[in-house]
């Protein structure tokens, strides 16, 4: 569907190893922004002044570059590799998955350790899993482990790894190519999956007036036994967070987004409140506080090698953010905090 999105999805980068993703975004955005820096923790910060010099308003958009994966913790004598998780991996889906290890992308497959195979347990904890590389070398403890997965079309959907949050990176990169009344700062953050670490540092340095985290989020829209809420649903447009475990959204920003969507006939949905967390968690607590909200593209099977998302949701997220930035989001936030 899209060359940049494909490149970003294929790029390998668990928390602490975001270099490859950062390089892609740097190259992509260098011609489009006024300023491009990498901070001490590895966040890529890009800036662009506003088109209206009378507007004094700095908007920070954040998308995290890191993906969930693993880290090599020991290379055994027989060539097998012990690893730990970096970010939230579901041990139930790991056995049999193909992975790549280290800078040279050495291929391997996740297997249960022989002693674990004999216990008869249905789910093997990650501590009892290992990677079989067939005895290949070329990596060492500390190197990253990423899922191996192609970016491809499944029917009308897109399939790939790391849509959480490369789709956010993609949307942010596309937005940076536009022009808005406000000053726009794009923060491509590091280490979100292990505790929203990069975003807090970025927000402290950027000192934005408002912030929006752009995310790929859980879609669990397959039929359920009871009439209970899906977290989000594919094809119903960008999801807007009111509250999750990491933050309460600023209600004025929620209203700006929902009203912008309605005004332009862009579909949108609330993310089921109370679930998950985003970079907003640390951004809104930076310095004296930053009004913030998260907007996300729904993805099925997030945190697995094969996430599925609907390209129309990607388009609608981009459209919503672009219209909002050209409109009320690009102007100082009026009214009192709710």
């Amino acid at each position: 569907m899209n060359e940049l999105l494909e490149k970003l999805s294929r790029a390998r980068g668990v928390a602490g190893h975001e270099g490859e993703v950062r390089a892609i975004l740097r190259e992509e955005l260098a011609p489009h922004v006024e300023d491009l820096t990498v901070d001490s923790i590895g966040n890529l910060i890009v800036r662009k002044g506003g088109s209206d010099s009378s507007v004094r308003h700095r908007v920070m958009l954040a998308a995290h570059m890191d993906e969930v994966g693993g880290m090599v913790i020991r290379v055994n004598g027989d060539g097998t590799v012990k690893f730990s998780s970096v970010g939230g991996l579901d041990p139930r889906i790991l056995p049999g998955k193909r992975v790549t290890i280290g800078a040279q992308a050495v291929p391997g497959v996740i297997m249960r350790a022989p002693h674990a195979a004999r216990t008869g347990k249905r789910v093997t904890p990650i501590s009892d899993l290992m990677i079989d590389t067939g005895g290949a070398g070329g990596f060492e403890p500390g190197d990253m482990v990423t899922f191996e997965s192609d970016y491809e079309e499944y029917g009308r959907l897109l399939k790939g790894k790391a849509f959480d949050d490369r789709v956010g990176c993609y949307v942010l990169a596309e937005l940076m190519k536009g022009s808005y009344p406000c000053e726009l700062v794009g923060a491509f953050t590091v280490q979100e999956e292990i505790g929203l670490r990069g975003a807090g540092v970025a927000a402290y340095a950027v000192e934005p007036d408002v912030a929006v985290a752009l995310e790929g989020t859980v879609a669990d829209d397959l039929p359920k036994e009871h009439d209970v809420s899906p977290t989000t649903e594919l094809g119903r447009g960008p999801s807007i967070s009111v509250m999750d475990r990491s933050a309460h959204a600023d209600r004025r920003l929620v209203r700006i987004l929902t009203e912008t969507a309605s005004a332009h006939d862009i579909p949108w949905q609330f993310k089921q409140p109370g679930v998950g967390g985003t970079d907003v968690g640390t951004i809104h607590l930076a310095r004296e506080g930053v009004p913030a909200v998260a907007v996300a593209v729904p993805c099925r099977y997030i945190h697995t090698p094969a996430a599925l998302m609907d390209p129309t949701d990607v388009g609608h997220t981009l459209e919503l953010m672009s219209k909002a930035l050209s409109g009320p989001l690009g102007r100082p936030l009026g009214g009192r905090v709710e």
Partner: protein, 333 residues
């Protein structure tokens, strides 16, 4: 102050939506302070400048949180029943039989899937809210709407009963302290904070913005004075509690001794508090910037985070006396 406590307990204000309680508190600050403002997260900041010139005058932040625990709607089903998530440390086993109020006046009662006779422990997944609707279209609430626990305010002698004494009683103590504090060598930064119940978030940003030299939180604390309680040397009616330690904070020894010595000097009953769970806004401010000496004046409260919390009015009065006398004198060198 009794009427003030009752009034504050009647106002809607779950974490993240403190605008109504902020407005009511702002009204009560009229004429008591030199400056009132609201910060970017919604904290209400009231500044009372020093009335006595002293080289030993400090910038002292006092924090009482405006927000209360509650629930948020996550889904409205075809029949109009709502699924919900919790805001703050809601205790699941207190839900059945309690009542919630939405901002628009809609009432909610909790129900649980299955037979009412089943002796099953409630879990959030099995519970739902009945908001008096027959269909999704009929329901006057939607996803993202919030509700707070409400039981009628009651009093038996000096014992007060309400769903949200945590921390409206602390807000009342702070307002009353500002009213009674006639002169002080200190600049008083009274902050009515937001989002304490979801992780002391308001205090985090207010502490950064205000850069106080001392932080005192005013909050409720648990007690050990009911049948088979977890051992804890705090009880109702024995005075305000001076915090020694909780889960996230060890009180600064000098702040603690300042409060203790003040209580002793003015014959104010007090008790020392070691809380084995929970924390207060002081914990967030203590580690703000380069660090801030921190303490907490607590009002003992039974059944905290349940819809029927019980406190003793005399402990609130004692907290005011303790604060007024401490803030009216110099901080020990």
């Amino acid at each position: 102050m009794r009427a003030l406590i009752e009034e504050l307990c009647s106002v809607f204000g779950p974490s993240g939506q403190e605008e109504r309680i902020r407005e009511v508190i702002t009204g009560h600050l009229d004429g008591l302070v030199d400056e009132v403002r609201t910060d970017r997260l919604g904290n209400l900041i009231a500044v009372k400048r020093a009335t006595v010139k002293s080289e030993r005058g400090k910038r002292i932040m006092l924090a009482a949180h405006m927000d209360e625990i509650g629930v948020m709607v996550t889904h409205v089903d075809a029949q109009g029943f709502c699924r919900f998530t919790t805001i703050g440390g809601v205790l699941t086993n207190t839900l059945i039989g309690s009542r919630v109020h939405f901002a628009n006046g809609v009432e909610g009662a909790f129900g649980m899937e299955g037979s009412p006779l089943a002796r099953e422990r409630p879990t959030p997944q099995k519970l739902f809210l009945d908001v008096g609707a027959d269909s999704k279209e009929d329901a006057r609430v939607q996803v993202g709407d919030t509700a707070v626990f409400r039981s009628s305010f009651g009093a038996v002698g000096d014992r007060l009963f309400a769903a949200n004494l945590d921390d409206r009683i602390g807000c009342a103590v702070l307002i009353e302290t500002l009213r009674e504090l006639e002169s002080s060598p200190h600049e008083i930064l009274a902050v009515f904070t937001v989002q304490e119940e979801v992780g002391v978030r308001g205090a985090t940003t207010a502490g950064y913005g205000l850069e106080p030299e001392i932080i005192l939180a005013i909050d409720v604390t648990a007690t050990g004075d009911f049948p088979q309680a977890t051992p804890m040397e705090v009880g109702l009616g024995k005075g305000a509690a001076i915090k020694v330690m909780d889960r996230r904070m060890i009180a600064h020894p000098k702040v603690r001794s300042w409060l203790e010595e003040t209580a002793q000097a003015y014959d104010i009953p007090y008790q020392l508090e070691v809380l084995e769970f929970g924390s207060t806004d002081a914990a967030a401010v203590q580690v703000s910037r380069a660090g801030v000496p921190a303490g907490t004046v607590s009002i003992p409260c039974r059944y905290v985070h349940s819809p029927s919390q019980v406190a003793d009015y005399n402990d609130a009065l004692g907290a005011v006396r303790l604060l007024v006398n401490a803030l009216g004198s110099e901080y020990p060198s």
